[in-house]
Amino acid sequence: MALDKIGIAKRIAQEVQDGMYINLGIGIPTLVANYIPDALDVVLQSENGLLGIGQFPTEEKVDADLINAGKQTITMRDGSVLFDSAESFAMIRGGHVDLTILGAMEVSENGDISNWKIPGKMVKGMGGAMDLVASAENIIVAMQHTSRNGESKLLKECSLPITGLRCVKKIVTNLAVLEVQQAGGFKLLERAPGITVDEIREATAGKLIIEGDIPEMKID
């Protein structure tokens, strides 16, 4: 069965390693925080100026001066630090953030990503997405494998305006975990529980690389 959003978040949480500094985008990526094992010590960065995002506040602790990049009220963990937007993107651009997890509308087989603009629709802006994808060494995309009308979002080339070139390393969708190959192509690493390789092949418009047996994801 295809994963739901929580399933995707749970699978991505397995990619998190102890000691990582992580930037989580809006949507499914934000959910990942809920499934990182307690044994791992990681720090979440919010690009509006905080390292060490904590839980949502209780009603009494809500502070309008403490929000995340999705403009949600948050709290700080012990050891947090606040800074300005230039310092925040200095961290991102300078490669100090170990892992970036973000959503996408399309990913191409050479790792290009489109996630900021749909021609003909109101343009809201790229926010920090272009900085994140151009800077991060380690980007995981969380998304549905296909669009609402069934078209593949894993393409030979992106059809939508690009957010960044050759930057996506790994993709976790409702159907599969895939690795973007240096030479081009989506290497299939894992299948969602009950999903067949054929189903994934059918849902993938870009070059799909299948080597040997493809294991099923293990998700609690």
């Binding site: 509006n48 937007s85 802006g125 900085d131």
Partner: protein, 231 residues
């Protein structure tokens, strides 16, 4: 210490002329110069170019200045959550320049720091790169981006002293310190104004040298866009 104190927001913004280029601090509605925006509504100054990460919401922040048609151009990274904004943009009344958030932050920082241009990887290979110089350093491609300055920077701090030194609170810091340094005239509104000497010199975020006018603001609403709580 040089005294930068001015009576109130009206005094602070009264000489901002039509067609001025402004920077306004804040991320979403967090850390925005509420009092100065209100005062601009009263002066009815027109044709403003506003450099600000966001454009407020329909009935708060820069959204208020959009409603009164005082803004001719926005330079921002994200401008959602604003129906009037969308209407003006589609009708051609409003011009918008969208800039990646980190590039915006660095361009403002560069402007304040006298750096006329720098290279950044953000936007290479995208629409943002159109018309811009590109260059390879150490195997990676970058865009040349220029520093930004403004005629007036409107910032909001938590505490400030009479010498113009500022301390921000929480994530309300965001673009405020950068913009303070990039305004030819910087107007700081603070929640609490104290005598010079009351702030610890080691805890100040914005040195007073960047601030030309400071006043204690009032009636802060601090509206929250996404009130999220745990039970």
């Amino acid at each position: 210490m040089i005294n930068k104190v001015i009576k109130n927001a009206s005094e602070a913004v009264k000489d901002i002329p039509d067609n001025a280029v402004l920077m306004l601090g804040g991320f979403g509605l967090c850390g925005i110069p509420e009092n100065s925006i209100q005062a601009l509504l009263e002066t009815k100054v027109k044709g403003l170019t506003c450099i600000s990460n966001n454009a407020g919401v329909d009935d708060f922040g820069i959204g208020l200045l959009l409603k009164t048609h005082q803004v001719k151009k926005m330079i921002s990274s994200y401008v959602g959550e604003n129906a009037e904004f969308e209407r003006q943009l589609l009708s051609g009344e409003l011009d918008v320049d969208l800039i990646p958030q980190g590039t915006l932050a660095e361009r403002v920082r560069a402007g304040g720091a006298g750096i006329p241009a720098f290279y950044t990887p953000a936007g290479f290979g995208t629409e943002v790169a159109e018309g811009k110089e590109t260059r390879e350093f150490d195997g990676k491609m970058y865009l040349l981006e220029t520093g930004l300055i403004a005629d007036f920077a409107l910032v909001k701090a938590w505490k400030g002293d009479t010498a113009g030194n500022l301390i921000f609170k929480g994530t309300a810091r965001n673009f405020n310190p950068l913009m303070a340094a990039a305004g030819k005239i910087t107007i700081a509104e603070v929640e609490e104004l104290v005598p010079a000497g009351d702030l610890n010199p080691n805890e100040i975020h914005t040195p007073g040298i960047y601030v030309q006018r400071i006043f204690e603001g009032k009636n802060y609403e601090k509206r929250i866009e996404q009130r999220t709580v745990r039970s």
